[in-house]
Amino acid sequence: MYKYDEYDQQMVDTRVAEFRDQVRRRLAGDLTEDQFKPLRLQNGLYLQLHAYMLRVAVPYGTLNSAQMTLLGDIADKYDRGYGHFTTRQNIQYNWIKLEDTPDILAELAKVEMHAIQTSGNCIRNISSDQYAGAAAEEIVDPRPYAELLRQWSSFHPEFLVLPRKFKIAVIASETDRAAMRLHDIGIKMVKNDAGEIGAQFYAGGGMGRTPMIAPLIRDFVPLDQLITYAEACLRVYNRYGRRDNKYKARIKILVHELGRDEYVRQVEEEFAHLLTQPIEPPLAELERIKTHFTDPGFEAGASDDLDLTDPDFRLWVERNTHAHKQAGYVIATVSLKPVGGIPGDASADQIRLMAQLAKDYSFDELRVTHAQNIVFPHVKKADLYTVWQALDAAGLATANLDTVGDIIACPGLDYCALANARSIPVAQKISERFGSAERQAEIGELKLKISGCINACGHHHAGHIGILGVDKKGLENYQLLLGGSEGADTSLGQITGPGFTEDGVVDAIEKATEVYLANKQGEERFLDTYRRIGMAPFKEAIYG
């Protein structure tokens, strides 16, 4: 994975010094909260419902064990012994003190981490495929391109005060595991007819109160024009994105209001102009970055045999592992969704254990997924049982990946100042209702996503089943959506009808799964059946 050189290190160290200075000026009264807020947000520091919250960047979701260990240590030393992995592949801490924050950032900088641009109206942490560099089906490893974009977007002087936040995802496989088209810019690395690698650009996707699927804006951007093209996209947005209404300020509204073709025309015009400017890094820089993402020393001829006599292990292998490009290896996902647990939360001890296992059995590497789980990307099959046993002993071996128990949930009203309703208790009740392994297996793949407000941090629009918490005359109320998806077949869920109480929505989901099981044909997933039979039978069962 990427290793900082002296320049990268200097950049994060300088940022720590800058933020220390900003905190000093805030505490001395030289900065008001109105002035300080946008600055602290650009360092991932929020003021939440209970305390300050710090969001630490995990660029394209990749971590080494030293970094993961430190994340656990920070949870103990500066927080309350746990952290929360987010849908943007980051981690956040809920009980941070402002006065400690510069020290936390300094500790992070020592292991090449930071909280730069994890919030605020700027280009955010770039997300990617959690199986990058390990999946059998990818065209290239997307992470070098994500790293190139990370450096370009860090402190980009023209784009630090955009109309609104700006999220970029980079993938390089047909299987989209990063919800690429639900980003402000989605980039898919592709190969053209001449066999050259280039970038396909999508723009104007997003969730929030106006969910949109990003249209394709350019089929192929050559690698030696990648940064210039991204710069053109951002400049048009910075100049013409709406600033009169924060709810209409995302690029999706600009692309929608201009129309895709007019946005493309403006970008192409700006792109043609910017190509005359010496702003594109040489391909040698991309090559330099690529050298950091070479394969680890896989053992040639490692055995593909797995002893599956332990039924619990067998279930976990079937549910939570994915084919690796290297024979004898597997990609293993640690579910942070135990039955009745808090989706995405991990204790300091669990974080450190995962770090140790990655060091011992996954070439020192971990990934954070946008579904709030942790991945060991390169586990030798011969080691898998040992890894599973260690996870199981720590309560980390729940076998429910992509099933009804593997729920994405935002922190909701239990933690978030913006939320209208709690998300976590709903997730807990659903995972308990569908707690048995048999039941989860019967229902199969079912992506369930819960947001506690319309900002959609829990991606409810993109869930096969989505839940949106709303405030109905001071009481929590939950709307149900069906038919969303965020993969290669991205679609937006439709609301079933009137909302429910917390228990009512759990009952409604149970009824929806019964409709699915009664109508399922062959190997259909819940989503496939819904798409075939439509909303009506579900609505009738739920409200009838």
Binding site: P157, N238, H273
Partner: protein, 143 residues
């Protein structure tokens, strides 16, 4: 007239009254213009030869359109004074300078020492803006 607190130019300051972008095209004797956030800086491109002062207005520092306006004019070859005016904050001075600003007239005077620290804070930069004369880190890596 606004008070310039920081200026990074050797030439004599120009203090002609700045007119709006709309008025500038018509007033053929005008040499100074003020760009508001909603103005298109490219409207000035036909008139660069008679421009000697561009004021870019920041009614609120969180509106970043002025960064693009300045850089666009510099990219087109404008060499005169580029003055940031309005709600300027210390922590953005460096980034303004990178987009081609070389004079700064904040509504309220900034702490001089904190501002100097901010201007000089970043020894290296990740991007080439092509208008501030600074090499990007990638250029240094592949010198």
């Amino acid at each position: 007239m606004v008070e310039v607190q920081f200026r990074f130019r050797e030439d004599e300051a120009v203090n002609d009254p700045a007119v709006t972008v709309d008025a500038f095209a018509a007033q053929t004797n005008a040499t100074a213009v003020r760009i508001e956030p909603g103005d298109d800086a490219r409207d000035l491109l036909p008139h660069l030869d008679r421009l000697s002062l561009v004021e870019v207005s920041f009614p609120a520092w969180t509106d970043g359109r002025g960064y693009s306006s300045a850089r666009i004019l510099r990219e087109a070859g404008y060499k005169g004074e580029m003055r940031a005016v309005g709600d300027l904050v210390i922590d953005m001075l460096h980034h303004l300078k990178r987009c081609g600003f070389d004079a700064f007239a904040p509504d309220k005077a900034l702490n001089d020492q904190d501002a100097r620290t901010a201007f000089d804070r970043w020894e290296n930069v990740y991007q080439a803006t092509a208008v501030d004369g600074r090499p990007a880190i990638w250029a240094k890596r592949h010198g």
